[in-house]
């Protein structure tokens, strides 16, 4: 009987959140160990399980995986969310990488001083509305299908939903010009595993607050 995957990270979104989403969407139950002190982190490093001394780390299928994208690609392939052939996979990668860029900007903004943080977040909303969302609106318009790639739910759809929700937290009306993305958001949110993940009490983490920033700064020394 396979054991559940186990996630090692701080108690917050950061670079682990996309991994939580992917597991949840695939209907995979997982455990988490939250790193709350420097001692805990140092122990993980000394145990030699963090290949480059960093988290996220996920224990899954007898492997100790680090590097966010390595973990996400593995999960996408394992749970058949990576397209049916190479041409579909490359499109999923392009779309997912685009949205990951956007979400990482949001994750990093939390650690900036207040004035810079405001600027960054405003820039993120602007980029979402001018660089990223128009692309996905057009893709959906051009093929008229429910999902971004291959008429089938994939990792790209999941990343896009996650990005939409994160940007909406910064500006609730960000989708106002994107009719198809609004419908997409509703549709993907209603997929049963995702709907469950969006309910209170799931393993989804809230946006970073000052406590989270403090904890991470004290553990990673920056």
């Amino acid at each position: 009987m396979a054991t559940k995957p186990k996630l090692y990270y701080f108690r917050g979104r950061g670079r682990m959140e996309s991994i939580r989403w992917l597991l949840a969407a695939a209907g995979v139950e997982f455990e988490e160990e939250f790193i709350e002190t420097a001692e805990q982190y140092e122990k993980l490093q000394k145990d030699g399980r963090l290949l480059f001394g960093q988290v996220p780390m996920v224990e899954i299928d007898g492997m100790v995986l680090t590097q966010t994208r390595a973990i996400l690609s593995y999960l996408a392939a394992k749970y058949d969310l990576y397209g049916k052939d190479l041409k579909e996979t490359v499109r999923i990668n392009m779309y997912a990488d685009g949205t990951l860029d956007l979400m990482l900007m949001i994750a990093l903004a939390a650690f900036k001083p207040p004035a810079e943080k405001e600027e960054d977040l405003a820039l993120i909303v602007q980029k979402a509305q001018t660089r990223y969302f128009p692309v996905f609106e057009k893709i959906l318009k051009d093929h008229g299908q429910d999902f971004l790639v291959g008429n089938k739910f994939s990792w790209a759809d999941l990343q896009l939903l996650e990005a939409i929700l994160m940007v909406e937290e910064l500006n609730a009306s960000v989708l106002s010009d994107f009719r198809l993305l609004q419908a997409f958001k509703t549709r993907i949110s209603n997929i049963p595993t995702i709907k469950k993940f969006l309910q209170p009490g799931s393993q989804r983490q809230p946006p970073p607050d000052s406590h989270y920033v403090e904890v991470v700064r004290s553990i990673l020394h920056f």
């Binding site: 480059f52 299928d61 492997m63 590097q67 390595a70 593995y74 392009m94 990488d97």
Partner: protein, 224 residues
């Protein structure tokens, strides 16, 4: 018959260089269109060629691919440089991402303000000898094989050789305590690479200009 892949980027390493290495290692001839002026870049943006308004962009197999990782993943898969199954691919990805992190630090060094440069170089040295190179030395030592994953040449080996050249350029003494890394970089290409004759590689590990290392006419660029 498909045309050669066409690379769109500035005339420099940046984020396109690892793509050049991977294509070259796979024996794939490619063309390049260099972006020399803001107008060149605007033209690409305006004709809808750049999905997220960014380069690198590679025209290949009827597609216009963007996002460095997406492009590298495509090439690696197409040319069988990505392991035999998803577990090998996960290992390759883990190693590759670590290398990309160090590569990124070295890549952006020229953009660093002069007053911060020394500190950045110190950090790069530390990371090289304490965080990254020990991992790859240990992997090779642990299985005793010539390649990082699955006893077969993969993109991980190619990215590693590329990274080692940059480390060498920064400071050749950084490689002093990593004997296996030197061996792997020679072996990988001596066995597989008609495009990397051994004499050039031996010289390469001592030279400081990438263009020289790989022989005249090879599409590799000196540092910005």
């Amino acid at each position: 018959m498909a045309g050669k892949p066409k690379l769109h980027y500035f005339n420099g390493r940046g984020r396109m260089e690892s793509i050049r290495w991977l294509l070259a290692s796979a024996g794939v001839e490619f063309e390049e269109k260099f972006i020399g002026t803001p107008e060149d870049l605007d033209k690409l943006k305006n004709d809808g060629s750049l999905m997220f308004q960014q380069v690198p962009m590679v025209e290949i197999d009827g597609m216009k691919l963007v996002q460095t990782r997406a492009i590298l993943n495509y090439i690696a898969t197409k040319y069988n440089l990505y392991g035999k199954d998803i577990k090998e691919r996960a290992l390759i990805d883990m190693y590759t991402e670590g290398m990309a992190d160090l590569n990124e630090m070295i890549m952006v060094l020229p953009l660093c303000p002069p007053d911060q440069k020394d500190a950045k170089i110190t950090l790069i040295r530390e990371r090289t000898t304490d965080r990254y190179l020990p991992v790859f030395e240990k992997v090779l030592k642990s299985h005793g094989q010539d390649y990082l994953v699955g006893n077969k040449l993969s993109r991980a080996d190619i990215h590693l050789v590329e990274l080692l050249y940059y480390v060498e350029e920064l400071d050749s003494s950084l490689l002093a305590n990593f004997p296996l890394l030197k061996v792997i970089s020679l072996t990988a290409f001596r066995r597989e690479g008609s495009h990397f004759p051994p004499e050039v590689l031996t010289v390469g590990l001592r030279s400081h200009h990438c263009a020289d290392l790989l022989g005249p006419g090879t599409p590799s660029r000196v540092s910005f």
